[in-house]
């Protein structure tokens, strides 16, 4: 190793390079203060609206249609769709913390309570009234409930469609096993006995695709059992937790029995890759309970068996099923809430709702469209597409009005407590009564200390 060093141009380059790195470091740390957030949009000429979406196959046609329609009438406004995905919660709360929310954002029932309580979403009814319209009158009230919070007037999310949980079923599997075909008037007992017939004929099939490592604790699956047996999860004033009332317990027991007594559910932890959807598509499950949007996916992906839909079976005292949808809201950070409203209100038009239905992406939530001619134009499967309209009437939404400290049925302490109690019951670690008396005590303790 014998290098000779002279002051060559090369070594000067090295110095320049080093200096550049240093300067870059200093400038970058210096410009921290100098460079403020995005410049405010120029007046009039070009307004930009940002729309945060999850960019899923089910949402993209909707956002594209709305943007196209809006931009045709507002040439000076540019709508930019941003995508947040993975776990939406992470991104959305980071944005909220920074005060960097878009004008329009994807919302789902999960976000309604925290965002409404903290004034992040604005009341859409007020925007509608301001233009002298009554956009919400023709919408089924039960789906609007997902964008409302008990104790806070107003509607904060415009839903995408009339999404209620109904039953998809594998027609071929029912037929081959000699089980009767489901109808819209079935009770759960009818389904259970059909399931037993199917499972006898198919050794490896779990009749109902609820189970695995997640999903079985979705409120839209088990709260209807409580309601269906005459119970309710919480008193109307959200002061008393009533999971362990006799009626609630009877409902939960019946739900748990689907695993422990009848063995017609996917066992906990026995995940098929792709979850319940994968289980149904791969014919390892005979039924799949979910919202209408899966029609599109199943039409594209299922080629080797015939399927249809039916109304979720009924419970002894009441007939109930969960409503769950996504939708769009306007945030307080929006500089142009009026324009944002013009952009998303079109979602509640016959045209767009019809378009969504034609694409098998969802059910129209306008009462005036219940007998729309589009239904007759749709090609099967599913043949019984109107099951979603018939079953939509019995759709319920979860109680939204718990103090935010205690969480909700979607997240936080209450969600965790109920999930744990359900899992303990299904796995037999506790009896249903034990588990839910304990759960109630825990939730009650939180309700008592909040305010």
């Amino acid at each position: 190793m014998n290098h000779r060093f002279r002051r060559t141009p090369f070594s000067r380059q090295v110095h320049v390079c080093f200096a550049l790195v240093c300067i870059l470091s200093v400038v970058l740390s210096g410009c921290v203060a100098a460079q403020p957030g995005a410049a405010p949009a120029a007046e009039d000429e070009s307004i930009e609206l940002t729309w945060l979406d999850v960019c899923a196959p089910i949402t993209t046609p909707i956002t594209d249609a709305l943007v196209e329609k809006f931009e045709a009438t507002h040439p000076n406004v540019k709508v930019t769709i941003e995508c947040s995905q993975g776990d939406y919660a992470e991104g959305i709360f980071a944005k909220a913390a920074a005060g960097n929310l878009p004008d329009v954002m994807f919302s789902a029932d999960l976000f309604t309570v925290p965002f409404v309580e903290n004034g992040v979403l604005v009341n859409l009814e007020a925007l509608s009234e301001a233009e002298g319209a009554n956009t919400f009158e023709d919408i089924y009230p039960n789906i609007l409930g997902l964008g409302q919070v008990v104790g806070t007037p107003g509607t904060y999310m415009i839903p995408a469609s009339w999404d209620s949980v109904q039953m998809y079923y594998n027609k071929d599997m029912f037929a081959a096993a000699g089980a009767p075909m489901p109808t819209d008037d079935w009770s759960w007992d009818d389904l259970i006995s059909a399931c037993q017939t199917i499972q006898e004929a198919n050794e490896n099939v779990d009749c109902i695709s609820i189970g695995g490592s997640s999903g079985w604790d979705w409120w839209a699956y088990f709260i209807p059992w409580i309601v269906g047996y005459g119970g309710k999860p919480v008193s109307d004033d959200f002061k008393t937790s009533t999971f362990s009332s006799p009626e609630s317990l009877a409902g939960i027991q019946a739900y748990v029995d689907l695993w422990t007594q009848y063995d017609v559910m996917m066992p906990l932890g026995a995940d098929i890759p792709g979850g319940g959807q994968g289980c149904f598509e791969s014919q390892n499950c005979a039924t799949f309970f979910h919202i209408p949007g899966f029609m599109k996916t199943f039409r594209e992906q299922i080629t080797d068996f015939d399927w249809d839909v039916a109304v979720t079976p009924s419970h002894p005292i009441a007939h109930a099923t969960g409503m769950g949808t996504f939708g769009y809201g306007i945030t307080k950070d929006s500089a142009h809430p009026d324009l944002a409203w013009e952009l998303i209100k079109v979602l509640a038009s016959k045209e767009i709702q019809g378009q969504i239905l034609r694409g098998y992406g969802g059910m129209p939530f306008l009462k005036s469209m219940a007998d729309d001619p589009i239904f007759d134009e749709l090609e099967p499967p599913p043949a019984n597409v109107k099951a979603f309209i018939r079953g939509g009437g019995v759709g319920i939404f979860p109680p939204m009005g718990y103090p935010s400290k205690c969480g909700s049925l979607y997240a936080g302490l209450i969600n965790q407590t109920i999930r744990t109690a359900l899992e303990e019951s299904i796995r037999g670690a506790k009896t249903v009564e034990q588990a839910f008396v304990d759960a109630d005590a825990e939730i009650q303790a939180c309700l008592d200390t909040a305010e």
Binding site: M1, P57, C83, G86, A97
Partner: protein, 301 residues
Amino acid sequence: MSTLTGSVTQAAQSSASHYRRLRQRNRRLHAVIVYGLLAVASFVFIMPFVWMLLTAIKSAQEAVYFPPTIIPRELHLSNFVEAWTHERMQFPLWTWNTVYISAVVLVGVLLSSSLCAYGFARIRFPGRDFWFLATIASVMLPPQVTLIPLYVFFFKIGWLNTFHPLTIPAWFGGGALNIFLLRQFFLQLPAELEDAAYIDGASRLQIWWRIFLPLSLPALLTVAIFTFQGTWNDFFGPLIYLTGRDKYTLALGMNLFNSQYGAEIHYMMAIAFLMTIPMIVVFFVAQRYFVGGIVLTGVNR
């Protein structure tokens, strides 16, 4: 004396030939065992990759069959094209974004981590040990601790939905473990190198650039490969900081095929497969050099 020497030589010779034969047989047995173990392990370890490829060429429905079909019933090689040109996706642009981010990060990491490593390895100054420990300790910090403050910080300086939060930090030290690895490598280079250069009037910067960097190519390559791999596959960073669809990276874009409202596994696996190829090639080609770049066994002479 001579007879003694002769008999010893003879004995040594016969035992040597016996020993050689024994060793030969041993070596063959040894090779069989090694290959056997490696074959089993490789089979298990390659499975995710093979599965990915097989799924990428299945039909949408066959992709979710369970238990899966091993050999696709019908070949859908067009999945690659369909996924690449999917109407909801912009993979050519996202590929460019990913390449751009990876390149900027790579240059930043190599320059800044080797600069810092040189400082830590070769210059004595007060506070050096403190800063080195602080650097190493920063690895122990769970990323969630700093997520929200960092996000707010990047928002305040207008960096959200730009590549800056992903690329600029790489220019500031380039990662504690990289500094550590390079420092270790620098420590074992002989001090005489520098002394000679000093006598010739070289500055430290010249020594770093003209002696240490060329001599540390294996270590730099190691750092480069680990960095490239991390950036190329990074999901969390882009997820938080990039929201515009035109700013997406491959890892992020690919995930759009996998949503709770309906998954397209076959397309996702097609893109995942294409994405993995460059990394495998880089690893396969570079492995010989980059193993030599990791020096942890103290200071050799």
